[in-house]
Each structure stands twice: as C-alpha cells, then as structure tokens.
Symmetry: D2
Subunit: 364 residues, 4 copies
C-alpha cells in the first residue's frame, strides 16, 4: 500500500512523477449524473500551475487535463473517471548532483531509506507536481459539492509573520499571494522579494472555509470529520500543522471563553459563536468549517547547506535553479482540493447512518 | 461505517458507551508471539482512570481490563484480541436535563442531527470514556513496539499559558499534571485550583515523542506518517490542532532556519537539527518524532450558558456534577496510545515496500 | 490484518476461540433506529447451536447472546453494537494428541505454518464455533434487511448425492436436515445414520435465496454483488465451491438456453427466466437471487488416518469424541448470515451511486 | 465506491470503457525493485487480444500498453504504476438499437437501474474489454510472484460438455482453445464451429493452478485465501461458479474420501493427496492450488430473443455483429491475472503475521 489512494467511497488514486510521462488520477466512486468537462477541472489546475507569478517556478507547463474515462455525453457515468496531465516540460537536465546528494528538507534521504533508491529526476513522486493530481480530483469533488450547495474556499492567511487581518474574499484572486487582504498581500510581496534576492524562502499559513454544510456529517470516533481533514491536509507535502477553529490557541482558552452557545432564531438552531470551527464531536455543527494548515518554507534554497552524499560522505549543497520562495500561494488550491475530497466522501458515507432515511431512499 | 475501526493491518475496533454495560476493543492483526497479559494493559489504563487526582472526575471506576480472546499460554496467537472493561459505576442519575438540552461544546446537538436521537446517559459514545478502549488497544501496540526497540512517550507541554520549559522525563509521573517540569506543574496546579473554584476549565497541549524509529517508515502520498498521526490524534475528542516538529511556527521560519542539515558520524547519517520533527516527505527520517496536540478546555462548566432544547426553545444550562477542570492530564496516555497504533500499523505496512527484502523474508 | 473484519460500511469484527472465554462480534456501521433485542439475535443463534439433533455435536452450549453496546431504549444508536457469547462448556479435556498431531482436513498444519504455533484447544480460532459470531452479526443484518422488505432464506439442497427435488419452504424447519423436501430429508437421515455408525461423514450443498431485492444493487467491476457473495460464502470453513444461478452448469449451456429474456407486464419489467440467479453484470436484476455453497464432509472422523506430528514424524490419528457427521444443517444459518451481511453492505454502498438521489436525500 | 479498486496492499484501480479513449490501471503498492518493461506486460495482453483466432471477435486492437509512471531505469520504484492502453478501433457505428433495447444476459438493464443511464457504446464499462486492465495489472503481479518462485497457470478445462481429460501444459498454447488436451481441443473446435454457424454460443470452464506457494498464506476468518480467490474470479463478468480443489463435488464425498493425509519424506511434510486444492482453513497448505471458474455462454447471439426497450415496451432483439462464440479462451489469462493479484496481495499481508519474523526483518 504505497498510500496513493485517498477515500472510502469517493476515492482518488493518483500516479505520476515530476519528470516522467505525466501525472494523473483515477476517481472511483464519483456519483453518476454530474455534468463534467475538462474546462471544469482546468480552472482549478490553472490556479496551481507554475509560472503564474514571480513567486512560482518559471517551469512552463500547460497542465492540460484530459478526461480519459467515466464521462459520457457530458455527465459522469458512475464508473471510474480517469484524468491525465501529460508532462511537457521535462527538459533534459543534469541530475547528477541531486542524484548523489541528499537535499535538506526534501524526501531524498527518506526515499532512499524506504525503497533503496529513488527516481531523482526533479523530486520524482515527492515533487510538488504530485499535487496537480490532487487538484484534478478535488475539482471533481468540488463540482459535486456545489450541486449540494456546499462551497470550499481557501486563501493565504499569512506569509512568515505577515498576517491577513481581514477576510475580503473578493480580493483573493487580485493578488499573486491569494491573500484576502490587499495591504497584507503587498507587505508579503515585499518580504518575498527580499527573500528571493537572498536565495531564501518563507513559510506561511493557508486557511480554508467550507460553507453550506448540513449538521451531523462525520463519524463519531476514529473517522471524525476533523480527523479526516487533518489527515488529508497534513498529507500535503510541507504541511507541519493543522488547526480547526481556534486550533492550537484553544489550549490557551477557558471553557467559558471557548464554548459556543446555541440559540433559536427564525432560521432554526444556530451557534452564537464559532470557536469550534464548525465541528463538534467530530461532526459538522451547521456553522462554517474553518481549518488552517501551516506550510514550512520551501526547502530548495540557494544558500549553501551541510549534507551528505549517498555513500555517507559529508558535503555541501547549493540547490540550483530558480525555485518558489514560498509554497503557500500555489498550495491554496491544493488545500481546497483535499478539503473537497474529504467533505464529498463524508457526505456520501453519512447517507447510511439512519434507518428511516434509508427506508425512504429505497421506497421507490 | 460509523468510524469506530482504526488501522489497515494492525486494526482496532472499539465499542461501548459511558453508561452502558462496558467498553472494549477488538484488535485484528496483532502479530503472533507477543507476550501479553492483563497487567501489561492495565498499567496504561490506570494512567487515564478517573479519580486519580484533584483534576479528574471523582467517578470511581476500577477500569479492570479482561482479555477475552487472542492470547494463549501468555502470548498473542495472531487472531483477534478482544479486550473488555465492564462499567461498574453507572449510577442511576437524573438525565432529564441533559436529555433535553444541548450542552455547549459537546456533541449532543450534532449526534441528534446525525442519528435523530442519542444515548444521552453521560455522553454515550462521545464520552471521554470511549478513550479507555483506545488506551487498551494502544497498550498492545506499545508492547509490540517495545519489541522493536521503539518507545512512545507523551506528557503535558502546557496548561493554558503555562508552558513546561524543560523536558525532564523523570518528573512526568511525579506530578498530577504529567508535566516534565516541576515548577511549571506547580503553577499549573494553582491555576487549575483557581478555575475549579470558579466552575471554569482550561485547555492545554500534550506533546508526544517517539524514539527508536528506523528511517523510511510511512507512505509517500496520502498515507504519510505525519498524515496518519494527525488523523489519529485529531480523532481524540477535544483536540483542535496537531503539530509535527516546528508545527504552526514553521510558517514563521525561513528555509535557511527550518531546513535540517545532514552529517555523517561514526554512528551513520544523522540530521544536525530536528525542525522536521522526525518526518520528511511523510516518512520517518531516523530522528526523534515530535508531535503536539492542542486540547480545548473541558466543555462541562458550572457557569451558566445559553443553549436550546431539543424542540428549539431557548434555555440556560448549568452543567451539574463535578468535572475535570482540564482534559489534558488524563489525555496524555490517550495521545500516546493513538501514536502507538499509528506507528505499529505503518511499520507493518512498510515491510512490503521492497522486493529484495520480501525475497529475503520468504527465503526459508 | 488477520482478516477477521468483514464489510465496508456495515462491518463486522469477530473474535473468540472454541475453548477460550467466549466469542463475539462488534458491528460498526449498522444504521441507527433499528429495533433490536437479544431475542431477535438468539433465534438465529439457536439454529446453529450444537446439540440440536442427532447430526450435531452433543456439546451443550446455551449460546446466549448479550448486547454489550450500541442499543439504547430498544433501538440501535448508529454506534458499534458489541455482541458477546460466553463459552460455558469448555471442559477440561486432554488436548495432548491434537496439540501434537496434524488432523487431516483441519487447519492445524496451516496454522502452525503461518503463526509458528496455535491455540490447539478444540480448533481454536478455526473451530466451527467461530461461525456463531457470524450468525450474531448476520442476524442484525437480516433484521435490517427485513425493514427494507428483503428476506434471506437458506436450506439444505443436498446431502451427499441425495438432492432435495422440491423447494417446500414450509418443510425446512420440520426436519433436522433443514431440507425443503420431506422425502429427501428422510433418505438423508438414513444415510447420515449409516455414516455415523462407520465413523465417517458426508458433504452437502446449502442453497440460499434472497427475495425483495431492488434492481441495480452491487458494484460493476471488482466489487460485483456475486463476487462479494462468493467471498463471503467461501470464507465459511469447509466451503469448496460457490455458485450463482446455473453455477458450474452454466458452462454446459448454450447462449440461447442460458440467456434470460425480458418482458413487460402490469408489474413492470421482469425476466422471463432466471438462469442468471438474479445477478447481471454484478448487479441485482430484480429477480430472486439464488446461490449455492458446497460443503466438504466433516474432517473429524473416527476412521484412522495417516498424518505427521509437529516434529515431522509419521503417525496415525483417530479423531476422538463425537462429531457432526455433516456440517451442512448447522451451516444453513451461517450461509444465510453471510449473505445478509453482503446484501446489507451493498445496499448501503449503493445509496451513493447517483447524484439525483443524493441531492434528493440532502434536500431537507 | 464504484468497486473498481482491487486489493489491500497490492492494489489495482482500473478505468476505461469499451469505446472511450482507452483503458488502464493504476497499481499502488507494488514493491520497489521489480524489473519491469512494457514487453513484460504486453505478452500477457496479447493472450486476450481480440482477433487471435476464429473464436474471438475480429475487432482489431493492438492493445499496446504504455507504462506512464512508477518505473525508473527499468525497475519499479514502489510508487504507483500507471498502465494505459489507448483504444484504436472504436469505429463510429450505429448504437441506436443497443441504446434502446436491453440485451438479454448483458448488464444493460441493471446499469440503467443503478445509474439511471449508461454508456451504451459497446457495453461501456461492463464490456469484456474492461478485463484488459485486469490483465495488465495481473501481469505485474505475476512478474512479482516469479521472483518468489511462484507460478500461476490457467487453461481451458472444458467447452460445453467437452472436457480436457489430460493436463498437458505444453499443449496449451498449441490450440486456439488453450486446452491442455489436443484431442479435446479439436472436438471443442468442431463444436464451436457448429454453434457459430447457428449464431449460438457455449459456456466452459477455466482451471488455474498455482505452484510454489509457501504454506500458511491467507488469513483465517473472512479473508481466507480461497475466499479472496473466489471473489476475484467471480468478479470476472460471465463467471457463475468458482471451485477450489474438489469444488462442488466435495459435497458428494465422505470424510474418509475427501481428507488428505500428511506424510513426512526427505523433502519435508507433504500431503498424500490434494482434494483440498492446496488450501486448508483458508491458508495455503504447501501443495498445488487448484481453482476452477465456470463461464456462462457469450450472451451476444444472433438468434432472436425477447426483451423490452427502455420505455418498457416488449420487443425482439437480434444482437448484430460478429461475437466470440465462447468467452473462455480469451478469459484464460484473465483468470490467471486475478489469481496472481490475489496471491501477491496475500503474500504481502502475510509478512506481518509473526513477531519473530518482524523482529528479524527490522534487525538491520
């Protein structure tokens, strides 16, 4: 189990390496009857495509997705949807250094320890390029969720210590950082320009909000909604922390501060605050789901670092080529995609929870 | 899939409610040949048993575990290990208020939304008592790991804003907070005494370290070691954030600060720092694994709160009875247990990763 | 993964050995709201209980099931249902021979090869007693199916070469063979009496019919309805063949003989024959599902056989004690149980197959 | 879960329709270090390629497989292996009749019942063409098994009532029926010629033998080796019965006839006969594994049949085009492939069964 299949009902099996023939995903379990075309998926892929701004690698990939199966006359058939993106930019470059030296902060060493060797071309399977397949799958999940009135939206909450102080969703696509705060985005850009000049990089935080969730979605013990979100988001390379609602800061609060009251209004029962981030006891509570993921700084930096080679000799390494000075902006749509996959899967699973609803379902 | 089964190879299926007949777990996939007796498991259970200190509920449960199957002549047989803990303290109390009102911060509302009703006796399945079954399973996993030279140790890192400033492992069991810092533990005790007087509660952070891990354990895409740890730990009720290594603070760092170099010494290749928390690219990197979980404050407080009843009428609630003013100390062993389950499962899965090792395994 | 958990959504995790403390099952994923009490389950267990007739072992077990969790005020809560049957008849007997010698036709040798040793008391985990846990789980599944208008009924089709020539369902419980043909049952009884006198045993066939299935249930490639039934039924110890509809004889037919036509009547579309046994392309076709399982003869016979001991010395063995001269009658309810588990799981999974139905489900 | 993913550790996710862009499979969990090239896989695919003989459809497909990922410098990397076969022969034909009418014996009706509509071009996902992806995956599994000294070989046991009376493996590829008996193959050919003239078809039986299995492989309760084989083989479209060893005929035998004795020779412990077909208690017993699958006759026949159209009107149908008069010869390699997938998966799972072997594995 090399761990490249996500989900229980709505399942995504991804494949592909950075510098191989291409990358792709097979989605097994997408419901039949969903309108789907390549353009629906392409718009998500374009958000993580390299070469979009000064803060992403200049590698130029069209990242054009092809639907290979599972769609007939414009709608999903219920059978596996195979999506493929051919690599077009795998230039013949000199990999001799990366093949020989373990780059700090990368998976070179651990890959060799696990498998005995690795596809060293551009990071192989542990390249950020792997996330394109997640985005393709997530796009399908997001289209499905829209049909149920559920939207998933991520954006950059912070870059280094520069935090977006407001959440102006209309601003997100207006700046290359995907921050919902124009001023903070400008300061972040200046900071990243400075780091790039120094050959250094920055971490940051992506926040994701989910609206339209019915209450009661998620399972009650190991497969809690927040647990599945944590796994899905932590599985994105470079994520080192995941928070729901108050997150780590919940540890600083008192019960009287952290508890959300309930109130009845004309619209029904709702919470009077949302410290919980939309999840109680592992199930959605009907309010907005709020999660955050902390990304470490891009490990590829042009500042010399200490390392060893495959034979165990000490060495210095300076990672060549131009690299994103920050992972976060291109990761925004990846977080969104993973969240969409989780929500889709949990919604489907939840259909089986009550006899009365199952009986009604089968009364045809 | 009510989500009460954890794992792929080493699997734990838990059952039981706070005020039912008992709780338990069936472990399917524990390797044959592991010495195991009830006392091995009991010592873990005793660490989360109520009534241990001033900071845990005075409910008195022996929490005596019985091995019902899977052990023969003192060793595991490879077949399911059924562990049972009978409830002995489910007094007949008046549940009419809790049956009618949704307690803020609890799963009462979401349970009703999911299933249409709930077992309201003491929290039912969403009671903290559910974690006793996790600990029983985790104890078996931990015993297995010891045989491979791997140890898992958790402790309290912080209570509210009081942080343990040193990590003196010999101190952990010397204070009721399970903090590895005597002074911090004393300050935390004073803070908790104050909160209890006010009928309020505090959050906190549990930290867990894992030593002895070989490098290369964990799968490379969705089932990364850190992703599985995040899920397992976030699935503990009341956890709102999970961190690996630098965690959320990785977002504040630069690549030149966060990357861990490699060096060769007489002992082999090792990292020169451990910002990664022992995991690179989803696989163990041979250094100590470090994870943290933030727990929200106990939601049961005796301060009046706004809520609604099942029929949607606004109401006030004051949660009666004595409750732990903090979840953290009793949760320490729960975090340890979940981590042990994850590590055991990943180690078993990893055995199948390389043809050369498989060939050697079957050369008998 | 010792393989003691069945199912994807409606899951059953069984445990227990023949001569340990007891046996049981944890059901995770049973929908909430199903009325359930111990008597509902007991009536299924009583059908496989030993000591029922001259053709079953005289071991006297009450096989009294206890519901340990998951039921509140008489209905299932949606959380795990733990069912336990304590062993009461594990007399202290002399196992020295069985511990030392490999019984032909039993799992003694293969267990030792897999695990290095075995719980040799009465067959341990590979005892037929393990099936009691399957029946307990199957009883719950069957109760669930009844609520959807689906019934599962098994009976003995043949004993050795004596075949039931009619299918009189009212006769099944009127004879100890559970055959739907009184005359055949009498001839079978005479044959079994003769075998028992000789210390020999007989094989036989169990047939199972499922009525009330909606069309379209089952997945289309690997997880076909017939594939899942085949696995579930073949997993019963002693089953050596599984058939759907015409079964092995389909190989003898021509397309013009084997194809079932379709016709429209006042009741809707139906098939004009049922060679397919109710399954087409891995999905239920709306007609009666018909499956058969061939059981080998009881391997425990009192006729001397050649074998070896654990140390590899040639030896003779005469299996002592009284044993069922045939497995089939007590296995009837086991086949029924496994079929019920499969159908319940597939029905739940099928709810997620169409967007239009999912949308309608969530329009609340 | 549309059910297109097979396996637990060695997993295959297939995709593709008869007349779409192509078909393929993603294999997740193949061990690293296995030499693999397209020719290794192509030779298996060629055995099921259409147009091979008078008894297969004249559709001409190159069925050329491409390795899209997971292989680096000629060996598998441990990451997903994506295999793709582009369709080249999806001629523009008139599907109006098949779109409207339910073909007897096909999945047209059940697909519509499950999903509300279907991709009617050439059977879509339920076409026999789907099995090409199984063969591609099975080829990889078979190459892996060879490295462990395990071989899987299938052949045609019978065509209608014509049974191969000997098992001459050298004869299999010498006749278009893939029968291990030259005389029987000639009689089968004559029978099939006759049926084809009449527009009719025949069923048959495929037998599969597995040599080189170590003893003790397979799990002991639900995931028995024979149970997994039964599922895998029954999941092939058109299979209606599966047998292990004596199969259905075990029901006719007495214990004294069916039990296999054990004996010690210079080579170790072996069985003195093999009625069990190499499996005892769900685990391999070290002797040859023998399984059989009964295939129904090709449902597409040119003899008129009664059916209904999508709107429920009675109609007659004559399936047009040339079709295989028998499925069996092309299915031989499909059975072999499914068996190889099962064995590979079970062998990997079995590595985790014993503490002593796990300890030795990790002593590095």
């Amino acid at each position: 189990m090399a761990g490249s299949i996500y989900g229980k009902i709505f399942r995504a099996a991804t494949w592909g390496e950075s510098h191989g023939r291409g990358i792709g995903v097979v989605i097994d379990g997408c419901p039949a009857g969903l309108p789907l075309c390549e353009a629906d998926i392409q718009k998500y892929l374009n958000r993580r495509r390299p070469g979009q701004s000064a803060y992403s690698t200049p590698r130029s990939e069209a990242d054009a997705v092809e639907i290979m199966s599972g769609v007939f006359e414009g709608v999903t058939t219920g059978t596996p949807i195979s999506l493929m993106i051919l690599n077009t930019s795998q230039r013949s470059v000199d990999y001799s250094e990366i093949a020989r030296l373990y780059r700090p902060g990368h998976a070179d060493y651990t890959f060799d320890e696990k498998y005995g060797f690795r596809d060293y071309r551009g990071g192989g399977r542990s390249s950020g390029r792997e996330t394109a397949a997640r985005v393709a799958a997530g796009a399908v999940a997001a289209e499905f969720l829209k049909k149920l009135g559920i939207t998933v939206q991520a954006y950059t909450r912070s870059v280094g210590s520069i935090v977006a102080e407001k959440t102006d969703l209309s601003e997100i696509y207006e700046n290359p950082i995907y921050m919902p705060d124009k001023d903070a985005a400008e300061r972040a850009s200046a900071y990243l320009d400075e780091l790039r000049t120094k050959g250094d990089s920055s971490g940051g935080v992506v926040e994701c909000i989910i609206n339209g969730m019915p209450a009661g979605i998620g399972e009650t013990v190991f497969d809690k909604l927040d647990a599945e979100l944590a796994k899905a988001v932590m599985s994105i390379g470079a994520v080192k922390g995941v928070e729901i609602g108050e997150g780590m800061d919940a540890s600083l609060l008192r019960g009287s501060e952290n508890n959300d009251g309930f109130a009845k209004t004309a619209d029904g029962i709702h919470k009077t605050s949302n410290h919980s981030g939309g999840i109680l006891g592992g199930m959605s509570d009907g309010s907005q789901i709020v999660l955050r993921a902390a990304f470490k700084p891009t490990p590829s930096i042009s500042i010399p670092q200490h390392t060893v080679d495959k034979d165990g000799n000490n060495a210095d390494i300076t990672v060549k080529g131009r690299h994103d000075p920050i992972i976060v902006p291109r990761a925004v749509v990846v977080v969104e995609s993973m969240a969409a996959l989780v929500i889709a899967d949990r919604l489907l699973e939840n259909m089986t929870s009550r006899l009365d609803r199952i009986q009604k379902f089968y009364e045809r």
